[in-house]
């Protein structure tokens, strides 16, 4: 089982430590993981802004980069969801059949559904509030969406239960959007900031010290609000907790 680590553009630039934690974590659970060099972007920012065609060559490039791997695994639910949901029809228009969509996983989904570790050495003696991100929940089904009448589940919570000392909370509006939305955040900045503020306050009301989730983009957005307003909470990607101490 060969796993290609998918590091989206902004994690590469802003949160390399998330990539490092993802790599260490996969190693720890015994996965043969490699990083195909010189990755850039999956094309989601352009496509969500309405320029899907600008994502075509990026999708083709991703296909080439990950051709030889059994799985593509990335620490960003939204980017993974984009590849899974949208690369097929983007590539179809260019005459390609998308292979990545069938083998790409968000790292939490991959750990939870494929690797299924029974234990992790991680210790994280803190209170965390789970950020159930829109695309993680509603496209990748990492947890039960609040809108649907299906039994509660959370793959993130299940994974965090392997971490010693942690206390997990969830906000009242359990999977309301944080207002990032890619280009939305700058096209509708007032609404976006308002959503971000409300979301952070909801996380703070749980008494948590950290907001954690599978999407660095949401965390980046909320971190921007936290820093601007000097709010008493921090953000941390879930792989950094799962890989704590490695």
């Amino acid at each position: 089982m060969k796993v290609g680590l998918f590091i989206p553009c902004y994690i590469n630039a802003v949160y390399p430590e998330v990539g490092v934690a993802a790599f260490k974590l996969l190693k720890q659970v015994g996965v043969d993981v490699d990083y195909p060099l010189d990755q850039t972007c999956c094309g989601q920012p352009m496509a969500n802004a309405g320029f899907e065609n600008e994502a075509t060559r990026l999708a083709v490039r991703m296909e080439d980069l990950f051709q030889s791997y059994d799985y593509v695994v990335g620490p960003s639910a939204s980017c993974v969801a984009f590849v899974k949901e949208n690369h097929p029809h983007i590539l179809e228009k260019a005459g390609h059949v998308c292979a990545n969509s069938k083998k790409i996983y968000d790292i939490c989904e991959f750990l939870h559904d494929v690797v299924k570790p029974e234990s992790l050495p991680a210790v994280f003696p803190h209170k965390v509030s789970l950020h159930n991100s829109c695309h993680g929940v509603r496209e990748l089904h990492l947890s039960s969406p609040s809108e649907m009448n299906i039994p509660y589940y959370s793959k993130l919570r299940n994974l965090l239960s392997l971490v010693k000392g942690i206390e997990v909370f969830e906000p009242k509006r359990v999977d309301e959007c944080c207002g990032f939305g890619g280009m939305f955040s700058v096209e509708e900045p007032e609404v976006s900031v308002c959503m971000g503020h409300d979301k952070v306050m909801d996380h703070i009301s749980t008494g948590a010290e950290y907001i954690t989730g599978a999407d660095s983009s949401c965390l980046m957005h909320m971190q921007g609000v936290i820093k601007r307003e000097h709010l008493p909470i921090q953000t941390i990607h879930i792989v950094q907790i799962l890989a704590a101490g490695l």
Partner: protein, 455 residues
């Protein structure tokens, strides 16, 4: 890179207490809806069925509408067909003229809003009275609805009270909702009793029986149709359902989704006109048949106008109905506006963070968020793509397609971290409104990997 929506939304948010009230009140409706939906183990099956019935009925309109007409005529109704808004309004006016009617009492109908019927009839000298309390309040204030189910959700009790003092002579300074509602009850009671003609929309039109079904909580449709000798019911043709059994699915979903009630107070079935009365039914196309030809958007015809996509939409809740340029706001309004006139209503397409909550709450499974994504792809083609956004996107594409350039950019990106604040957080930096920029890492992941630092 602003749109009409984003500008209006910014204005709405300026009044933060009102925005917060609007957000929390509509969220409360969403929470009530969740409680109701979770009280039925078969909820998701009902949604599947509702969607499947609509996919069936909307792809068999040719036969179902004719079956409906045949049965309605057999019931004693007079059936009219209207190609567009103009013809619809003319049909209504002709009926009024024929009966020398001076006034029309109507219940809430998004279709008559769509056809802009009231202004047309006013211009002909007809006194049109909206009888839904929220709609009546707005009519007396000369305002438009900001939500399709909760039309006056943006109005405060004090505003209602002050208007009623002036228009209905209520006690000065009494803003109690019960007092005001009962004052309106008295005022509208007179209107009902002396209506020349009454009008309703229809939530459903049943092909197998030729009846129409109207759902209200107030009973205004029923009061309106109880005294006038003429009842006009109008519906957009996607309101057709094949039979009563199918109604069982929709009446279980509609109010639970829309207001979080197990059913509306009144689910009224109008089948035959009372003795000595006339019952007119208008079947309206007004662009619906064009939607049939658009496979990407045909599911918008599944919509049963419950309004829940507005209540769940984090953008709608924080921007209010007036921030949208189409008369129906929220996720379904963004889509219906684009289907009506994409050039004219493209400004609403920005009002979505693609969170997809709307698609999940929709009782008839309209893929609302996914369709908004598709509309965004069309903006460039119709010349409505934002130039600045297009430039940003193209610039990003250029960079991302050139890994070497991207890696170089990452090397220099940390320099931004040290720029003076006034350069980073200037007027053109929309991100800087309310958020700090992320800090670029000294070494990118790619760089770390190359240097063998990832172990």
């Amino acid at each position: 890179m602003s749109t009409k929506h984003s500008i209006a939304a910014a204005r709405f948010i300026e009044n933060r207490p009102q925005e917060k009230w609007h957000d929390e009140t509509l969220w409360m409706v969403r929470a009530k809806r969740d409680k109701q939906s979770k009280s039925l183990p078969e909820w998701e099956r009902l949604r599947d069925l509702a969607s499947a019935i609509k996919m069936y009925s909307n792809s068999h309109l040719e036969t179902l509408l004719q079956e409906f007409e045949k049965n309605a005529i057999a019931n004693g109704a007079i059936v009219h067909w209207a190609k567009d808004a103009e013809e619809h309004n003319q049909i209504v006016y002709d009926i009024l003229k024929e009966h020398q009617a001076k006034n029309l009492v109507k219940s809430k109908s998004m279709l008559t809003e769509e056809c802009e019927m009231n202004p047309f009839l006013f211009s002909k000298g007809i006194d049109v009275v909206e009888s839904d309390l929220g709609e009546r309040i707005l009519q007396l204030m000369d305002l438009k609805p900001s939500h399709i189910v909760l039309p006056a959700i943006h109005i405060k009790r004090q505003q209602v009270g002050e208007m009623m003092e002036e228009k209905l002579g209520t006690e000065k300074g009494n803003f109690d909702p019960t007092y005001l509602t009962h004052a309106a009850r008295k005022h509208l009671r007179e209107k009902f009793l002396h209506a020349d003609v009454s009008m309703t929309g229809a939530n459903f039109a049943v092909a197998s029986t030729g009846e129409i079904v109207v759902c209200t909580n107030e009973g205004n449709a029923d009061m309106g149709t109880s005294f006038a000798k003429v009842h006009i019911a109008t519906f957009g043709m996607e309101k057709i359902v094949p039979n009563r059994e199918a109604l069982g699915v929709f009446t279980r979903l509609l109010a639970r989704s829309g207001t979080g009630q197990p059913i509306t107070s009144y689910t009224s079935h109008y089948r035959k006109p009372p003795k000595g009365c006339e019952f007119h039914i208008i079947i309206v196309d007004n662009g619906r048949s064009e939607i049939l030809a658009q496979p990407d958007h045909v599911k918008t015809l599944n919509c049963i106008r419950c309004g829940e996509c507005m209540n769940t939409c984090p953008v709608y809740r924080r921007s209010g109905g007036y921030s949208y340029t189409y008369f129906i706001p929220g996720p379904i309004g963004i889509n219906l506006g684009m289907l009506r006139n994409p050039e004219k209503y493209a400004d609403n397409v920005s009002a979505c963070s693609l969170c997809l909550s709307c698609s999940n709450v929709c009782p008839a499974k309209v893929d609302l968020g996914e369709q908004i994504y598709k509309w965004r792809q069309d903006l460039d083609r119709i010349g409505r793509a934002n130039k600045q956004k297009k430039l940003m996107s193209a610039g990003m594409q250029y960079l991302m397609e050139r890994p070497a350039l991207f890696n170089t950019a990452l090397k220099f990106a940390p320099l931004v971290n040290h720029l003076p604040r006034f350069m980073v957080y200037n007027a053109v930096n929309a991100w800087g409104k309310g958020r700090e920029l992320p800090t670029f890492a000294k070494e990118s992941f790619n760089e770390l990997w190359k240097k063998n630092k990832v172990k």
